[in-house]
């Protein structure tokens, strides 16, 4: 397959390794990966902050970049950005009275997948060690990000896949399904509540004894990692794409 990578703005600018890991995984499976250079961002930050007219150029740019015949499916290492592409883009077009854009948004959304959705549902990966050569000899825990879990209905796909990585130990995170408190600009507009939620997440992560907390969304991991770092806690954060891409030969270090 020819797969278009939607890196997402935060991964592109802050966590390039995660995008490289995504490329590695897909190439390892024999697929061709392209990176449409016109892409920038899904516009979620603007929409979730209520800035709809300002979101329009961002959303239009994404749709223009991905509404092409140049690839089979698009993939992003983020549940949240994929949920935005699938659900928020049609809403924005509708709200601003652009029926044609809405149809294009729906078409792009229908071919856009979150990474584990693509790996499990489309590419049939059920065992990361065997099928992807994944190897990561660490004890981790895993936080399921809300948009992947609820808006995309990922269920246990991410966790199940992580459990099949060679050498790994996955300790269950207490109250895993509770939001970490990120919520985009919620984290600054309602910083106190966001921090109170983060506090509990950090405590729960530390209680697992894991040396890293993994997840499928770089933004939530940046928030959680920032909290862990601030409290001087030992665990690091690592995107699941990086763990899946880690191999016996090239083992990712924490």
């Amino acid at each position: 397959m020819r797969i278009a990578l939607f890196a997402t703005c935060i991964v592109d600018a802050m966590y390039p390794e995660t995008a490289k890991s995504t490329v590695k995984l897909l190439e390892r499976l024999g697929h061709e990966v392209i990176f449409p250079k016109a892409q920038a961002c899904c516009g979620q930050m603007h929409m979730n902050s209520g800035y709809m007219p300002e979101a329009l150029p961002v959303v239009e740019n994404h749709i223009n970049a991905f509404d092409t015949d140049d690839y089979d499916v698009a993939v992003a290492p983020s549940g949240s950005c994929v949920a935005s592409v699938k659900h928020q883009h049609p809403y924005l077009a509708d709200r601003l009275g652009k029926p044609e854009l809405k149809e294009r948004a729906k078409a792009v959304g229908a071919r856009t997948y979150e990474l584990t959705q693509l790996l499990v549902d489309v590419l049939g990966i059920t065992n990361a060690a065997e099928q992807l050569g994944s190897y990561f000899p660490e004890t981790i825990t895993y936080h399921p990000s809300c948009h992947g879990m609820r808006s995309l209905g990922l269920g246990d796909r991410q966790l199940d896949l992580l459990k099949t990585v060679g050498g790994i130990t996955v300790n269950e995170l207490p109250e895993a399904d509770q939001c970490c408190g990120f919520g985009g600009t919620f984290s600054i507009k309602n910083a106190d509540v966001s921090s109170a939620m983060l506090d509990d997440k950090v405590k729960n992560i530390c209680s697992t004894g894991a040396s890293a907390c993994s997840g499928g969304d770089a933004s939530c991991l940046m928030h959680i990692g920032g909290g862990l770092s601030r409290t001087g806690a030992k665990p690091k954060t690592l995107h699941l794409a990086d763990i899946l891409a880690s191999t016996m030969e090239e083992t990712v270090s924490l």
Binding site: A7, C9, D12, A13, M14, Y15, P16, K20, F35, K37, A38, A40, C41, M45, H46, M47, N48, S49, G50, Y51, M52, E54, A55, P57, V58, E60, N61, A65, H87, Q88, Y91, R95, C146, R150, D177, C179, G181, F182, G183, G184, T185, F186, S187, I188, K189, N190, A191, D192, V193, S194, S195, A196, M197, M222, H223, G225, G226, G227, S229, R230
Partner: protein, 490 residues
């Protein structure tokens, strides 16, 4: 026929407003550790109960779909349904009153009570009468209203405000309840303990006298059935049943959105509601009444159909499904924000996720006081997942944020920091070229992070981030540039 557009329907009044911006109220409430402990315990207990009983029904998702569809249909034909209900309720001896807003509803109820010559009324737990501030209004007219629902009684005796739509005193624990009873009940055992059975006993003794003496009762309604003209109240304690059957006069105040097309519809809602609200398979008391029955129960039966902003909410095509709410409270029980701030932080009678959308939809978002409510959510979606009628609360929250920003844009000339950030972001993220250009500055961020590779303090609104979180040093090269260098040049 010519259509006359009369403009946007009027906004709701009464207890629908924030008293202060949510972040400020939340800051204060977060410091109340006893309240947070009580609330965490209560919400977690009810969450588990709900999940257990919901899991027992193999057709739960189908029931949710049915609930959502019935409500959508009902709302799409609201005018016909209401007129049909009026016809049938009147035919069975009931009297229908229409109230445009809180003031009108309060006046109607006051006049009805005064006409009976009574100066005391007993009350069945009702959100609509909380919304319009009926008790306070009656008091100014010399009429005392006695709440009979146990939790509502605790709130009333404690001169407090409800903080939850189902368990108004959820923020109080047993010991606090005992203290309120000891202080406020005219006749009470001075050795009262905080055992639930003893507390219930004290409340029963206190209320029994009121039930037997009351000539007028005021209730809300969980639903009205258009095809039969029936009203229904769903409750746990039986105190509601006493109010609905013993007095001579029964006055019900109900939001117009509570009407359901037909009798059969309660089959769906009687499965959805108890399981979602108290986590029970079935609630102990369900009372249904259809007008007046000679020599049995109240002989003067009234209903006040309340708009108070509902028509306005119905006019919002992206927000109107908020009117489908059956007030089960599941959304607030699962909400991580509500769990930490409690209900008082939301100001309005309706707290939690549903309150954050319903209050501004009823009043209109341009009413400045409610502008911060739609932001009181991390958009985690736990509410939508739990809602028995599938109200997509996160989507409506985002929609209302858009309405809020649009309304503010019209009013304010000076842009805020957030406005500038969003405008800049719109340019930067609106083209691959632009973000690529900015990413060239990533090494500067590395410089700012210094030796320990952490950014610990940011200025302006971004200081909210660094109050509890570090930012890692950015990479030296963006993925975009890596791709150009490694993949394209080869």
């Amino acid at each position: 026929m010519t259509q006359v557009f009369l403009g946007m329907p009027a906004g709701g009044q009464g207890n629908l407003f924030e008293s202060e911006p949510f972040p400020k109220a939340a800051h204060r409430e977060l410091g109340n550790t006893q309240m947070r402990k009580n609330l965490r315990h209560a919400t977690h207990t009810i969450r588990d109960k709900r999940l257990k009983v919901v899991g027992e029904l193999p057709d739960w998702e189908a029931l949710r779909d049915a609930g959502s569809v019935i409500k959508n249909n009902s709302m799409a034909t609201l005018e016909e349904r209401l007129l049909e209900f009026e016809k049938n309720f009147t035919a069975r001896g009931g009297i229908v009153h229409w109230a445009r807003d809180a003031d009108e509803a309060n006046q109607i109820v006051t006049d009805l009570v005064k006409a009976t010559g009574s100066t005391e009324v007993v009350k069945v737990k009702s959100m609509a009468t909380q919304e319009i501030g009926l008790n306070e209004h009656l008091e100014t007219e010399g009429i005392s209203a006695f709440e009979t629902d146990l939790a509502e009684l605790i709130v009333q005796l404690g001169h407090d405000k409800p903080s939850h739509i189902l368990v108004p005193a959820i923020h109080k624990n047993r010991t606090e309840v005992r203290d309120i009873f000891l202080k406020e009940m005219p006749v009470v055992d001075p050795n009262l303990t905080d055992e639930p059975a003893k507390l219930a006993e004290a409340a029963r003794a206190h209320l029994r006298k009121k039930f037997l003496a009351a000539k007028v009762a005021i209730s809300g309604a969980n639903f009205a059935l258009a095809d039969t003209g029936t009203l229904g109240v769903v409750e746990s304690e039986g105190n509601g049943r006493m109010c609905l059957t013993l007095p001579e006069t029964l006055i019900t105040v109900m939001g117009i959105e509570k009407v359901l097309p037909q009798w059969e519809d309660i089959e769906v809602f009687m499965q959805l509601l108890p399981r979602s609200s108290t986590g029970e398979r079935m609630n102990p008391y369900t009372s249904l009444w259809t007008g007046v029955t000679e020599d049995d129960g109240p002989q003067n039966v009234h209903i006040v159909l309340l708009d108070n902003g509902r028509t306005r909410a119905l006019a919002d095509r992206f927000g109107r499904t908020a009117l489908n709410c059956i007030r089960c409270s599941a959304c607030m029980n699962v909400c991580p924000v509500y769990e930490r701030t409690g209900g008082h932080a939301y100001g309005s009678t309706y707290p939690g996720p549903i309150g954050a959308i319903l209050s501004p939809l009823l009043t209109g978002i341009e009413v400045e006081e409610n502008g911060s409510l739609p932001y009181a959510s991390s958009l985690c979606g736990a509410c939508y997942e739990a809602c028995p009628v599938k109200i997509n609360i996160p989507e409506i929250l985002v929609h209302l944020r858009g309405e809020d920003v649009d309304a503010k844009r019209e009013k304010h000339k000076l842009p805020t920091q957030m406005d500038l950030l969003m405008k800049g972001g719109s340019w930067a993220l609106g083209k691959g070229k632009n973000i690529g250009l900015l990413e060239k500055a990533l090494p500067l961020g590395r410089l700012a992070a210094g030796k320990d590779r952490k950014i610990k303090k940011l200025p302006g609104i971004a200081a909210g981030w660094t109050q509890s979180r570090d930012i890692p040093a950015p990479p030296s090269k963006s993925f975009r540039d890596w791709w150009s260098d490694e993949k394209e040049s080869k």
